[in-house]
């Protein structure tokens, strides 16, 4: 053996001894998200990887409408998935199916409780199932009533405090030449479609379910029943312009041909973005109309899958990642809030000066604080997602007058109560 061959063999042998040791410590987490602002996510991941050598994060994204299906397929198909974006409406079913794990199973003792103390009530409720916290908020928001303040001023119309006043204002605007004053997100396949309806019923002071979880919205005196009638009336009067997605609403409202809409707060941030929208600054947040002025608050969150939780090394890495993205001192949540206007569930950010300064550009913080204070969580059970998929097409039918409010509410309540009983005897 010549010296050259010996030297080469020594190098290879040395590498063989060192490389596997380094590789053994490397973990690649599979992180699955819906495709909102991927550049920011990638940048956050890069910062995490820099701070945590040995942990890599592989990002996979799906569109929002395809997200739930894709996740179900990944879970059912056994595709490696470690950390995910979760939704409040999916959590009970996914937790019951054993797809996601409580954070206490991956986090050091006491750390989840410490963070939970900082989370807003409705958001904490949304990330909790069976008394266990399953996620930390990626963002938390309320569904809000948004209006074009300039249009109302120009037409001498006061901000409508009740739904009857919204109807009257819309009719007045219609008489003044505005074709369809109300823009409404109308897409029966999106969970938002039901969530927005609940938010409006909460505004009226209604509850859809009693304390024992039975459906009560089929009662004609129930606020949800009355509100569906209101939507049907408004649609039949030609006051509502349906839009399939919130992204369309941003553009449509910026034509100046519409006055009211009901969407997430971050949509208001986009509407009032002076760099992108022609009428930025004209739009304002209003309290949800109705006697209670309440609304639906919700949280989207980072959750760890059960397969990740079962592998100690992967579980540790997954927790580090979730803690980086949503844990104290809430740098990533703050970044989303400042740069994108995403709401947050971490209460300390409410008093963060950078957040306040950034948000003052597009939303009235006083109104927001009042809205958040009265926001309520939804009724999320194992069967809510399945029931909602059944109920949304009915809701859509009623709004456009293809079914009566009574037919829809009766069918919806019966289905809910049947599912409730089935789960009780499961």
């Amino acid at each position: 053996m010549s010296m050259r061959i010996f030297a080469a063999a020594a190098v290879v042998a040395g590498a063989a001894m060192t490389v596997p040791a380094a590789q053994a410590e490397d973990i690649t987490l599979e992180f699955v998200v819906w495709n909102y602002s991927l550049d920011t996510i990638q940048d956050n991941i890069a910062k995490f990887e820099e701070q945590n050598p040995g942990i890599k994060v592989n990002l996979t994204d799906y569109t929002w409408p395809d997200y739930q299906d894709s996740l179900v397929l990944r879970f059912r198909g056994g595709t490696q998935t470690d950390v995910i974006y979760g939704g409040q409406d999916w959590l009970p079913a996914w937790a019951a199916a054993g797809w996601v794990a409580p954070l206490s199973s991956v986090a050091p003792a006491g750390s989840v409780d410490a963070l939970a103390g900082d989370i807003a009530g409705f958001a904490l409720s949304d990330v909790t199932y069976g008394g266990e916290v399953y996620g930390l908020p990626y963002y938390a928001d309320t569904i809000s009533f948004i209006y074009n303040a300039k249009v109302l001023d120009e037409n001498g119309i006061d901000f409508p405090a009740t739904w009857d006043e919204v109807m009257a204002a819309s009719e007045a605007l219609r008489a003044a030449g505005m074709d369809r004053p109300i823009v409404y997100e109308y897409n029966q396949e999106l969970p938002n479609f039901f969530d927005a309806f609940v938010a409006q019923a909460y505004g009226r002071g209604g509850e859809l379910f009693d304390d024992e979880g039975r459906a009560i919205f089929d009662d004609p005196d129930n606020a949800a029943y009355q509100h569906l009638q209101w939507l049907q009336d408004a649609f039949s009067k030609g006051l509502i312009q349906p839009e399939p997605h919130e992204s369309n609403i941003i553009t449509t409202m910026n034509t100046g041909q519409h006055a009211f809409t009901v969407v997430y707060n971050y949509v208001l941030a986009a509407m009032n973005n002076p760099g992108e929208q022609p009428l930025a600054g004209d739009f304002a947040l209003g309290r949800m109309p109705g006697d209670a002025n309440s609304t639906l608050g919700f949280a989207k969150f980072y959750a760890v899958t059960s397969t990740a939780a079962e592998d100690p090394a992967r579980a540790e890495a997954a927790w580090k990642f979730v803690d980086f993205m949503a844990g104290a001192p809430y740098g990533v949540a703050k970044r989303w809030a400042v740069e994108k206007g995403l709401g947050f569930g971490q209460l300390p950010l409410l008093t963060d000066q950078d957040v306040i300064t950034a948000w003052n550009d597009w939303i009235d913080m006083e109104t927001l604080a009042a809205q958040v204070e009265t926001a309520k969580a939804g009724m999320w059970t194992e069967w809510t997602g399945v029931w909602s998929a059944y109920f949304r097409p009915l809701l859509a039918q009623a709004i456009v007058g293809e079914a009566t409010v009574d037919e829809v509410m009766t069918a919806g309540a019966e289905r809910w109560n049947t599912l409730r009983d089935q789960f009780a005897s499961r």
Binding site: R180, Q188, Q241, P242, T252, Y390, P393, Q397, V400, E402
Partner: protein, 292 residues
């Protein structure tokens, strides 16, 4: 001695195995699923016989979805084929810019169904939509129409979008069939018959009728199993106005978490599709594909 004739099955295995893996196994698994209760929210996967099929067929959406699918198929398939044949005949002619027009006609073929659906969603949009813009400009409408939120118009809109995606394939196959016609026959026809309709009826049509039948079967199946355009344009709505059986496979499985019911709907779709193929082929003249 190893020869092709002595052990044909072994030699065919490399071809049969992948086919079996990617077709027979999924179909078999789907059949198994349709006969079991596979609901993600309930533990276990017990055998339930035909319960899933009974539940699906007696559900409140099934008849509507079946009617919608039947109407969709009966209307969309002949229109797509007729337009395809008409465009192919037009594109056979020599005119300035024929290459560009051919490319434009074939454009929908290269677009994924979901992209086409998004494109058509914008065409039908009440504020920015091309169609509303034209109709308002011409004074046909006084105010814009929400095509996708009105049950009757939503069905029509989805149908238009679906046909648009299917026409290019019909054009390509018809052009291939037209290219196969003997040029001398065509020259003789032009000398003997001045009427272009009669030339088409008595010379061209007999030559391409086999292709037209193939296209009809293909388009009937594509329409009956259409999913992507409905999903992206209306989500099956408003209500059940555009809910097709194929769309309901997805809804049962991924919205309702009931894969047993979803597989049952899938098998019903397969069964009806098979009947459709048999019915169309039985209705054909026996010498259609025979030697001339």
């Amino acid at each position: 001695m190893w020869t092709l004739k002595r052990f044909p099955f072994i030699w065919l295995l490399p071809a049969i195995l992948p086919v079996a893996l990617v077709t027979l196994y999924p179909v078999g698994h789907a059949l198994w699923t349709s006969l079991h209760r596979v609901m993600l929210l309930f533990p276990g996967e017990p055998f339930v016989g035909l319960d899933n099929f009974v539940r699906v067929v007696t559900s409140n959406y099934f008849i509507v979805a079946l009617e919608n699918s039947a109407t969709f198929t009966v209307v969309a398939a002949p229109i797509a084929v007729a337009l395809g044949v008409a465009l192919a005949l037009f594109l056979q002619r020599r005119f300035l810019g024929r290459g560009i027009v051919r490319s434009i006609v074939l454009l929908p073929w290269v677009l994924p169904g979901a992209i086409s659906a998004v494109l058509w969603t914008w065409v039908f949009h009440p504020s920015f939509g091309l169609l509303n813009g034209i109709l308002l400009e011409l004074g046909i409408l006084e105010r814009s129409v929400s095509f996708l939120a009105s049950p009757g118009l939503a069905f029509l809109s989805v149908l238009v979008a679906h046909v648009w995606t299917q026409v290019p394939f019909a054009v390509v196959l018809t052009m291939a069939a037209l290219a196969g016609i003997n040029t001398e026959t065509m020259e003789a026809a032009e000398l003997d018959c001045r009427s272009s309709w009669k030339r088409f009826r008595y010379v061209v049509l007999p030559e391409i009728k086999a292709m037209i039948v193939v296209l009809l079967i293909y388009n009937a199946l594509m329409a009956f199993t259409s999913y992507d355009v409905v999903y992206a344009m209306t989500g099956g709505g408003p209500g059940t106005a555009t809910t097709l059986l194929a769309f309901q496979i997805w809804r049962e499985g991924f919205s309702m978490y009931d894969f047993g019911a979803g597989a049952a709907v899938a098998f019903i779709v397969v069964l009806i599709s098979a009947l459709l193929i048999v019915a169309i082929t039985r209705a054909l003249p026996s010498d259609l594909f025979g030697e001339r």
